[in-house]
């Protein structure tokens, strides 16, 4: 990979990606699946709901809590142990299924964008079947590199902070400088890893590479195209931000108007306004579902086209 890699034209990528998303419902569908399944994976907001439940439980009278506690403490411990093990097994199973689902959705999305970019008409069956042979590398790529980077960063920062707490004077200043550098290195490494993975998943799915080989190729490409990728990624995010923000403007205006005029409305009008607002909220959710799918598909198509552009001259 010594020679110069060909560059992409953003306008060309965007125009082609837009055509792909516009023409193929399946690309959009897998875009939506990938977006939802990634969101529902590991960062779901369930922590908040469980915290809220805990607060509600606290508000029960202490007498009730005592009665319940004494009842539950009369149950043999072995039953709780069994329930605990079962719940852990259940959670592990759910996590494994979530990882497989997410990897499959991503792989299928990539295959649909590739098929569409080649002028074919992608289908669920063709995209899914083409993904199965690459599920293992996709799963590996979705977990291992981030886990290694995360754990390494955690270890380094733990050591640095321990050192900072235990030292004073010049060594402390040196460690502080090192910590500052570690922050920047971690940010850079995360960015580079994110970029490497963009190419790595495509290399695994399109070029049939194993996980490690795909990651290596992704890393080389990301290093050589770092600034161009950063530019394209930033532009992608700005555009998706704008697209996602647009439907909010009329919604906020309607909501503010409803708040202003609410007190002056008669009972019947208030009921009608409530129904209108609920319908509006449902339409907004539908619009966002559509947009999330379209944006994820669009971004995937943009990177797939960019990957093909690089590979075009560089060869496989």
């Amino acid at each position: 990979m010594g020679e110069n890699l060909p560059n992409w034209k953003i306008s060309e990528l965007y125009s082609k990606a837009w055509t792909i998303v516009k023409k193929s419902k399946v690309v959009w569908l897998f875009g939506l699946a990938a977006a939802i399944l990634n969101l529902a994976g590991f960062d779901s907001g369930n922590i908040f709901s469980s915290t809220r439940d805990a607060v509600v439980n606290e508000s029960q009278s202490s007498e009730t809590s005592e009665t319940l506690n004494s009842l539950l403490s009369s149950v043999p411990t072995s039953i709780y142990v069994a329930i605990g093990i079962e719940v852990i097994l259940f959670l592990i199973l759910m996590v494994v299924i979530a990882i497989i689902t997410s990897a499959w959705a991503e792989g299928s999305l990539l295959n649909t964008t590739k098929e569409a970019s080649e002028g074919k008409s992608p289908s669920i069956a063709s995209a899914s079947m083409a993904t199965f042979p690459h599920l293992k590398p996709l799963i590996w790529l979705s977990i291992v590199p981030k886990l290694v980077l995360g754990l390494s960063a955690l270890g380094i920062f733990a050591a640095l902070f321990t050192g900072l707490g235990a030292t004073s004077g010049l060594p402390k200043i040196l460690l502080a400088v090192l910590t500052g550098m570690a922050v920047f290195i971690t940010i850079y490494a995360s960015l580079l890893l994110g970029m490497s993975l963009i190419w790595a998943v495509r290399s695994a799915v399109f070029d049939n590479k194993g996980a490690v080989a795909a990651l290596k190729e992704g890393y080389v490409l990301a290093k050589r195209k770092f600034w161009r990728m950063l530019g394209l990624g930033t532009l992608n995010n700005i555009i998706s931000g704008i697209v996602l923000f647009l439907p909010l403007i009329p919604s906020v205006i309607i909501f503010v108007l409803a708040l202003v005029f609410w007190p002056n409305l008669k009972d019947e009008s208030q009921a009608a306004a409530t129904i209108t607002l609920i319908s509006g909220a449902a339409i907004l959710i539908a619009i966002y579902i559509f947009l999330f799918g379209a944006i994820t598909a669009f971004k995937a198509a943009v990177w797939t086209l960019a990957y093909e552009k690089i590979k075009e001259k560089h060869g496989k």
Binding site: L37, I83, E86
Partner: protein
């Protein structure tokens, strides 16, 4: 499988419903044993054992059972009973891996957009849902067994309804039911405010206005009107302090009517509902004083002093008691 035809949406829904009801029966029936406990401790132990032995394992193993039945026999019990078989494009049963994938990832994918992926079976020429397309599976009708499937479905519905009826009957006559209901009601009851300020703040303007209306009715000697307002306030109360305010109005009305016994009951109830609400103690103190219970009235008036030192009325009560 020579006379096979693609299985349509409705027969597949029937098979799925049979599977769901088998699972429901498995979850539901053991309840009959649980409710036989005659002590609360026995009930708690049985319930937790039920969760450990039946509920979690059934959900844990559900996908494995369906996947293994589909790979070994061509379908879950519901599908087999309705004469359906799941195969790949070669006509063979799916292997376990694909079957498990279809059951988990495939079903998640098909259910993503309000189950459109399942409804797709209605329009697809091969009657494939998205989960079928994802693994390249086909569902065939190899025997016209849908009447049997329907019969089993009806039998399962009847069984579940009769279990539910038996459970309801047992719950009605069970000696632990009142205790359990009390426990549930207690845990559902909103927490009383912890300070007088909190109690006052929790009272809405509407409730305060209703009380004023009630007090005007008392002044006009319209006691039935005042009691009606008090009852409405109790029923419509949104929190314990508003309910206590309704009982306070009732107490003041009873006092005006000279019904001291009733006033003592409603006054006490009010202090129990919102024990940190100064007004409730003030009115209860007046009722106690009217009944000649000086010590108790003094104790209640002192509570007013502690909860709301700015309230001057407790001083009047204390002076009158001397």
């Amino acid at each position: 499988m020579e006379n096979k035809t693609p299985a349509g949406f409705w027969v597949r829904l029937l098979a799925y419903s049979v599977d769901v009801l088998i699972h429901t029966t498995l979850l539901f029936a053991p309840f009959l044993l649980i409710v036989k406990s005659s002590t609360m401790i026995g009930l708690a132990t049985n319930f937790m054992t039920y969760v450990a032995v039946i509920v979690i394992p059934s959900f844990l193993l559900l996908n494995f059972y369906t996947a293994s039945f589909t790979s070994r026999f061509g379908g879950s019990i519901g599908k087999l009973l309705t004469g359906l078989r799941v195969t790949n494009s070669d006509g063979n049963f799916l292997n376990f891996k694909y079957s498990f994938f279809r059951q988990t990832v495939g079903y998640t994918f098909a259910g993503l957009l309000l189950w459109v992926g399942f409804l797709a079976i209605l329009r697809d020429k091969n009657k494939q849902g998205w989960h079928d397309k994802a693994v390249g599976s086909y569902v065939w009708k190899i025997n016209n067994l849908w009447p049997l499937g329907l019969g089993v479905l009806i039998a399962l519905i009847v069984l579940n309804v009769s279990i539910a009826k038996s459970l309801a009957q047992m719950a009605k006559t069970h000696p632990l039911t009142p205790q359990l209901l009390e426990l549930i009601a207690e845990s559902a009851r909103p927490k009383a405010p912890e300070t007088n300020v909190e109690a006052v703040r929790s009272i809405s303007e509407a409730a305060a206005q209703r009380r004023e209306e009630g007090l005007r009715a008392v002044e006009d000697e319209d006691y039935s009107g005042a009691q009606k307002i008090a009852s409405e306030m109790i029923v419509q109360a949104k929190n314990p302090s508003e309910e206590a305010l309704g009982y306070d109005l009732a107490t003041e009305t009873f006092l005006a009517e000279g019904k001291i016994e009733e006033a003592l009951q409603t006054g006490k109830k009010s202090t129990e509902l919102s024990p940190n609400f100064a007004l409730t103690h003030l009115i209860y103190a007046i009722a106690l004083a009217a009944n000649g219970q000086k010590d108790e009235a003094e104790s209640e008036a002192q509570k007013v002093m502690i909860l709301d030192p700015t309230n001057e009325e407790y001083k009047t009560i204390l002076e009158n008691l001397k």
